[in-house]
């Protein structure tokens, strides 16, 4: 269900005509969009369309070669190190692999930002970690090492670490990739729950379009590094572009005679 989003205030993320490159290869270009406080904003597209690279730019891990990206009011490309550190304390991020530190157990991973940026006593830190674990349905696993976790647990522990500092904004890279449909649906529900309970703005990239349309307030569709569509889930579902409809799985597969012949020969051979 769409959430009431305040677009009157200045956006948490403002991307203006941004182009990103790596090794001279353009990853995406001419991207302009805003993300407002309280939104769940999805960036969807096929594999290799530049979604994860875009997220790295939003986190300040890469800099655009053209255009601007302002996150929480600061231009990341021109920000000084101290400004970047201040911004990063106000945002959380999860990576596709989870990116938990292998040498630390679940509790140590989650409390790492708290230990570095606050002077809370260990008992308070422990309580805060416990609360976040409960919120993400992870009670009782705080002593496990990352290698002992399932894919779904890994993603949720990573999410717990991302929200431990109560950030204003969380960025998630493919939060449901590699998960079975039940775990993926649970994680979708968790994202909505996090937004509602912690009042956090959520930006996530995903190739699971249907799941993104179910939970996002607005969806950005990327194709070949360019913005193909931007709008509410209803607007995206009704979008006339064939690429968008193909992404939604509504267009029949393009006819490819050589593939059809091959399949026919295989089928005949089986008989």
């Amino acid at each position: 269900m769409p959430h009431a989003v305040s677009s009157a205030s200045s956006p948490l993320i403002a991307v203006d005509n941004m182009r990103g490159e790596v090794g001279g290869r353009t990853l995406f270009e001419a991207l302009s969009f805003d993300v407002h406080a309280g939104e769940i904003f999805a960036i969807v597209g096929r594999s290799g369309c530049g979604k994860s690279s875009l997220l790295r730019h939003l986190a300040g891990l890469s800099s655009p070669t053209h255009g601007r990206v302002r996150v929480l009011g600061t231009d990341l490309a021109t920000a000084r190190r101290a400004e970047l550190v201040a911004i990063r304390k106000r945002l959380g991020i999860t990576f596709q692999s989870g990116a938990l530190l292998n040498s630390l157990n679940v509790r140590e991973n989650i409390e790492l930002p708290l230990r570095h940026h606050t002077k809370l006593d260990p008992a308070t830190v422990r309580i805060m970690v416990h609360l976040k674990l409960e919120l993400l349905n992870l009670s009782g696993i705080d002593h496990l090492m990352p290698a002992q976790l399932s894919g779904g647990m890994l993603k949720r522990v990573s999410l717990a670490r991302a929200v431990i500092m109560d950030p204003e904004l969380i960025l998630l890279d493919e939060p449901t990739s590699g998960l079975d449909p039940i775990n993926a649906a649970e994680l979708d529900t968790l994202l909505v729950k996090l937004r509602d309970t912690l009042n956090v703005t959520v930006v996530f990239v995903s190739h699971a379009v249907e799941s993104a349309l179910n939970i996002a307030d607005r969806v950005l569709v990327l194709e070949g590094g360019r913005m193909l569509a931007l709008g509410s889930p209803q607007e995206i579902r009704a979008h006339p572009a064939p690429e968008v409809q193909a992404l939604l799985g509504r267009l029949a597969r393009r006819s490819r005679p050589e593939v059809d012949d091959y399949v026919a020969r295989l089928t005949a051979g089986e008989d």
Binding site: R88, L100, L101, N102, R115, H117
Partner: protein
């Protein structure tokens, strides 16, 4: 005017990155929470866990030197110099160099692989995104641990080496233990001991710097093959750097 060769630019860029890495690590020393605890953990990992292999290598090296020198010294009628020869060889040259090479193989390669895996797995990106300085959190304790552990390991290598040499001199060649030890004490000067510790400190810094840097800058070398290639490169580069630096230091400080 022709453009500089790309390989030269790449070399300068890589060299600049390594210099900046070292400067940034030095700048963060003592400025991150938990750095001392992390340093102790790394000293245990790099230093304490290397003790058995260092001790065994030291004993055998001392034994081999004693055997080799004994035959030569007997030929020249100078068997009384066996203790001095064993002591000087171990402390001036073989102790620092062999300890450094063993540490590269055991701890340098492991640290490089750890950094490379953390880079590939986006763990370093995650640390940056948590507003934690990876130079302070990851690199500084490890580099400092190499710097501190190498002289200590070298001293232990030399002690075990002397014991090995002494054991062979006494058991195989019938030398007097007191006389052999006295010869060692006479032949080896304080300057030799300090030189040995100074060399091993420099080697520790080199090993940590090159192995950690190689792993840290390994972006794009993804997968098991990439990590393996990065680690092999680090071992080769660090070993050659140690041998080259050993020559330079020996020539300058003799």
């Amino acid at each position: 005017m022709s453009r500089p060769a790309p390989v030269l630019i790449l070399f300068l860029r890589a060299g600049g990155s390594y210099v900046l890495l070292l400067l940034r690590v030095i700048a963060t020393l003592g400025r991150s929470r938990g750095q001392f605890t992390a340093l102790l953990a790394q000293l245990h990992r790099i230093g304490a866990r290397s003790l058995p292999v260092i001790a065994v290598a030291g004993v055998f090296t001392g034994m081999v030197i004693a055997v080799q020198f004994f035959d030569t010294l007997v030929r020249f009628g100078s068997r009384g110099l066996l203790g001095t020869a064993v002591g000087l060889s171990l402390i001036r040259e073989l102790g620092p160099v062999l300890t450094a090479l063993i540490t590269i193989g055991r701890a340098g390669s492991a640290s490089c692989a750890e950094m490379a895996i953390m880079r590939t797995d986006q763990q370093i990106d995650a640390i940056e995104c948590m507003a934690i300085d990876p130079y302070a959190y990851l690199l500084a304790p490890r580099l400092l641990a190499f710097l501190i552990a190498l002289p200590l390991l070298t001293a232990i290598f030399e002690v075990f080496g002397v014991c090995g040499g002494l054991a062979v001199a006494v058991a195989s060649f019938g030398e007097s233990p007191t006389l052999t030890l006295a010869n060692m004490a006479d032949g080896v000067l304080t300057r030799d001991l300090l030189m040995s510790l100074f060399k091993s400190g420099v080697f520790g810094l080199l090993i940590g710097w090159l192995c950690l840097g190689k792993g840290y800058f390994s972006a794009g070398q993804s997968g098991a093959e990439g990590v393996s290639r990065t680690t092999t490169d680090a071992v080769v580069v660090a070993s050659l750097a140690v041998l080259f630096t050993d020559y330079v230091l020996t020539a300058l400080l003799r």
